[in-house]
Amino acid sequence: MAKSVLVDLTRCIGCRGCQAACKEWNEQPARKTVFKGEYSNPVRLNSDTYTRIRFSEKDDKGRPVWSFIKEQCLHCVEPACASVCPVAALTKTPNGPVVYDYDRCIGCRYCMLACPFQIPTFEWESARPWVQKCSFCSERINDGLLPACVKVCPTTTMFYGERKEVLAEAQKRIADNPSKYVNHIYGEKEAGGTSWIYISNVPFNELGFRRNVPQIRLPDLTWSYIGKVPALFGVVLIAGAGSWIITRRKEAEKKEEQR
């Protein structure tokens, strides 16, 4: 059944063990880093980095307050990326992961455009580039194992299970500790619901989470148009054929009169 993960941001200590484990499991090379005046490294998810910890430093009356935000594909319940892919290279599997099929991809990058979280990345430096993103360790899940990042986390920041259980756990933690947590489960409704959800002690908009993510299933937006395509086709056909018949008849009448 559809697996899900709760990320409890209050538990993360920013050790980046998940980041290293992910690279190791996916056999991705290190990249030369750039210093941009912050601790997050690399500065963005890229085609060699499926997950990273973003460091957020806030000032609370002269005292620094840190938050560590785990970034990876959120594996939407109804993923926009999979719905827009013209060759079905991205698909939502029954187990939860949104997975990528190298044999189909044409490299159009519509998935990157459509993703409300800016997650899929591209191998810009390659002459035969692929789209890259977290696979939710699909093969590991299929074999009954934990995703690499979840497995390695030393502080149980990530709670793994069925989406229902995971949502219930998030609700329970907030209910048990309402003064600690903000009353918002990020990913419960965002983009129509995601497989990876977050709870936090700091409001999500202060942590750089995307705020203007529509709270609807995004593929429905496109379907509202595509569903009409056959009807539109028919309307144009009837209008076109109709006007041809009428103008031809008029022409014939004219010729008749001239005679």
């Binding site: 890229n46 189909r104 455009l113 810009w124 692929w130 995307r210 937006l221 006007s243 008029k250």
Partner: protein, 379 residues
């Protein structure tokens, strides 16, 4: 059939075109060998840039004249426009071929461009777009083929095309209406990313209406320019007729744009003073309001220079609209984590080379094929 001797092939302008095409060809080889990162300024936050915004979205909108004139002549029996049928259809054909060329350069795996034809995904607008491109390019090839068959003296082939032309044109109109609107539908999935100045569920139909504007303007410009270049007499009846049609379409577009501005973010959003808002205003004023005024009376529509200026502004305005939807309107969201995008010099040169190739092929066809038939065709 003899060549069109009025048309000189080896002019300084043609040499310039060939130079730009040659430069573009070298850069295309470099792009294929080294990947998109080496030649474009695209990045993970800006996956689409100039080649999609200008070459693809703009090129296809520019081609709309083909289905409008074909439909007017064959389905609505407006015989007046028959002299411009061939150039209009040829422009559409070249527009589609070049848009496909640009798309191939933009794809990570260009050799897999055929995948959508066999790997179906009916929920994807991009798949719908791909199928339209395949079928409509074939349709346009059939519509333009009599020119070539006449040259080759294949009379039976000409007769065959003339026999099936009405259903072919009707199919072409159906595909075009769907295709132009589908390109707008590509952006339905990003309501959180695209500025509300452009984002509306009506976007597909706005793309359709503006493509009709651009198509009419392109056909009109072509008629004017080619009659100058190829020393034909400009038919002012055709020009003013196209201008009148365009006036009505631009009116409709303005009403729709204002309606969705008021219904969506409100009029104030257009005057927010931000770069995005200013781009919206520029598109509205240059591409819609000024040309509308310039085409507003019968005497203005008979004035060739007034119509030409208005046409250029419409074409520029719709091109700007496509780039606003695909780049400016998304810029705020996509740059929010510090990324930026401005097309690289190579992106610009390759785009210019594609445009130059279009003009050169048009000229070549005008010289060697019967693009401007003096006598009426049979149909």
């Amino acid at each position: 059939m003899k060549n069109n001797h009025e048309i000189k092939l080896m002019t300084p302008f043609t040499l310039l075109l060939l130079f730009v095409i040659g430069l573009g060809a070298v850069l295309v080889i470099y792009r294929l060998a080294n990947g998109l990162g080496a030649v474009t300024n695209l990045n993970d936050d800006f996956p689409w840039g100039l080649w999609i915004g200008f070459d693809m979205l703009g090129g296809v909108a520019m081609a709309a004249g083909g289905f409008i004139i074909a439909g007017a002549v064959y389905l609505l029996n407006m015989k007046k426009y028959k002299p411009i049928l061939r150039p209009a259809v040829l422009t559409a054909f070249l527009g589609y071929l070049l848009a496909v060329l640009a798309l191939m350069l933009d794809l990570g795996q260009p050799h897999r461009i055929w995948h959508p034809a066999v790997m179906w995904q009916v929920h994807s607008v991009m798949w719908v777009v791909a199928m339209h491109v395949i079928f409509y390019t074939m349709t346009l090839a059939i519509e333009s083929s009599p020119m070539l068959f006449e040259k080759l003296k294949w009379q039976s082939a000409v007769n065959l095309v003339n026999k099936i032309i009405v259903p072919v044109v009707l199919f072409g109109v159906m595909l075009s209406v769907l295709h132009q609107s589908s390109l707008g539908a590509v952006y339905l999935i990003v309501p959180g990313k695209l500025s509300p100045l452009w984002s509306t569920t009506f976007l597909p139909y706005l793309f359709l209406v503006s493509a009709v504007m651009m198509g009419l303007s392109m056909v009109s410009l072509e008629t004017t320019f080619s009659s100058k270049a190829f020393k034909h007499k400009t038919d002012t009846g055709i020009i003013s007729g196209l201008a009148k049609g365009n006036f009505i379409v631009i009116c409709l577009y303005l009403i729709l744009k204002l309606f969705f501005l008021v219904k969506g973010p409100g009029i104030g959003a257009a005057f927010a003073g931000s770069k995005t808002a200013n781009m919206f205003l520029l598109e509205m004023v240059v591409g819609i309001i000024i040309p509308l005024v310039m085409l507003s009376s019968g005497s203005l529509r008979r004035n060739l220079s007034s119509v030409t200026t208005a046409n250029i502004m419409v074409v520029g305005g719709v091109l700007l609209n496509r780039m606003n939807v695909s780049i400016s309107g998304m810029y705020g969201f996509q740059s929010s984590t510090g990324s930026s995008y401005w097309p690289s010099l190579i992106e610009i040169i390759i785009t210019l080379a594609i445009v130059a190739l279009g003009i050169f092929l048009f000229k070549l066809t005008a010289k060697y094929l019967n693009l401007f038939p003096e006598t009426e065709m049979e149909y």
